[in-house]
Symmetry: none
Subunit: 225 residues, 2 copies
Amino acid sequence: MSKKTILVVDDEQDLLDLIEYNLRKEGFDVLKAENGEEGIEVAKNFKPDLMLLDIMMPKMDGLQVVDAIRKEDSLKQMAIIFLTARSDEKTEVDGLNKGGDDYITKPISTTKLISRIKAVLRRYDESTVSDNKISVHDLVIDRGRYIVQRGNEEFQLPRKEFELVFFLANRKGIVLDRQTLINQIWGDNIFVVDRTVDVHVRKIREKLGDHYIETVKGVGYRFKE
Amino acid sequence: MSKKTILVVDDEQDLLDLIEYNLRKEGFDVLKAENGEEGIEVAKNFKPDLMLLDIMMPKMDGLQVVDAIRKEDSLKQMAIIFLTARSDEKTEVDGLNKGGDDYITKPISTTKLISRIKAVLRRYDESTVSDNKISVHDLVIDRGRYIVQRGNEEFQLPRKEFELVFFLANRKGIVLDRQTLINQIWGDNIFVVDRTVDVHVRKIREKLGDHYIETVKGVGYRFKE
DNA sequence: AAGTATTTTTAAAAAACTTCGAAGACTATT
DNA sequence: AATAGTCTTCGAAGTTTTTTAAAAATACTT
């Protein structure tokens, strides 16, 4: 199973760093955001597997963030774990209907955090097995079968190419720069030259046709809206 | 598939109503009970397909309820999902050993609840239907006799090879990575080198021909659609 | 229109992955 | 305890994919 990405949203910079450090040590990819709005933005762009969300934040609080997220079709199936300042009855009840999968009270125990995260992700995997399939334009990109279909045609793309279209297609319309693509598909600590992305894009276009992936000069690539 | 009936057992009236509302919206029939004894009673009388069971309840707790139910022959095959106050490792283990199919932590996410219920019911249906014999393409794979037939030909595959084709054939089209195959066929905590899978695939291809199992480089194997 | 920056192509090297052949370990049966 | 059939591991050999590097093409700027 591939590397999971976790988005941590909290207004305390220190805590953010601490959590990041510990999650990375466990082999997760980590994204950070310091407030609700930013969190939503990052979530939309990167589709993390799980979001660790502080409930108490200035401006937009955690529950509002959840509301916003559950409205997004593409984010509906992301797991969410709340961070609460204290196990406060009221908060708990509020969260009940809001769509969190679990909650953890501060101060945070690292061990607890990790095991809770793993538990949620594990449960998630089981119920989401066949959910990695997306239709865009005239294509069906099916990660279960590792196949791209167009009508009766079937394309068997090699792994990196496949992951690349799949990733782009899941974020159609938005431009992703090369480094982002590398971080997401190759992994954060892998070093590859960014021309590599170009070559893969080219191969995809060769096979699927060049009207799916658009290049935005000076920035990166984008799946056609 | 006919309409499924779900029995919800919880001592909080509010939660009971909330859950009922959401389940009905999803097209389930819903039964309710406010304590363990009542739950057992209703279960016996109505034979629901699935029981949503709070672990923490006054008088008779959830685990006792399960004990009682698993004794009843007529209820043995009902699915059970636990509701727990918090994801507490110990409860988790206890509960799953006791014969629950899944558990959900409060606060409850409606979306999650629904998808979890569907997943469990799906699994149930699958395991009840056609368990031991499957026809794919020109093959009949019969687990009762450990034999694969093609026309008049009969192949007697050794156990591991057999389990492997059988497993793949039951999921035809979808790509399974080696680790998954190992976990499923060899067992979760058994350690075998993943080349082992390759060798078994090769043996199968030697005997049955190589047009059944396809290799997806970098990912795993897949039974041909 | 020339010059600069960026992307696309191409080709070849490097890395990753699968297959194959063979041998040793293990099991069950006689 | 010997035999036959299975299962697992290992190390090439053979493929395919991935990456790099460099030339050609394209877009952008002044």
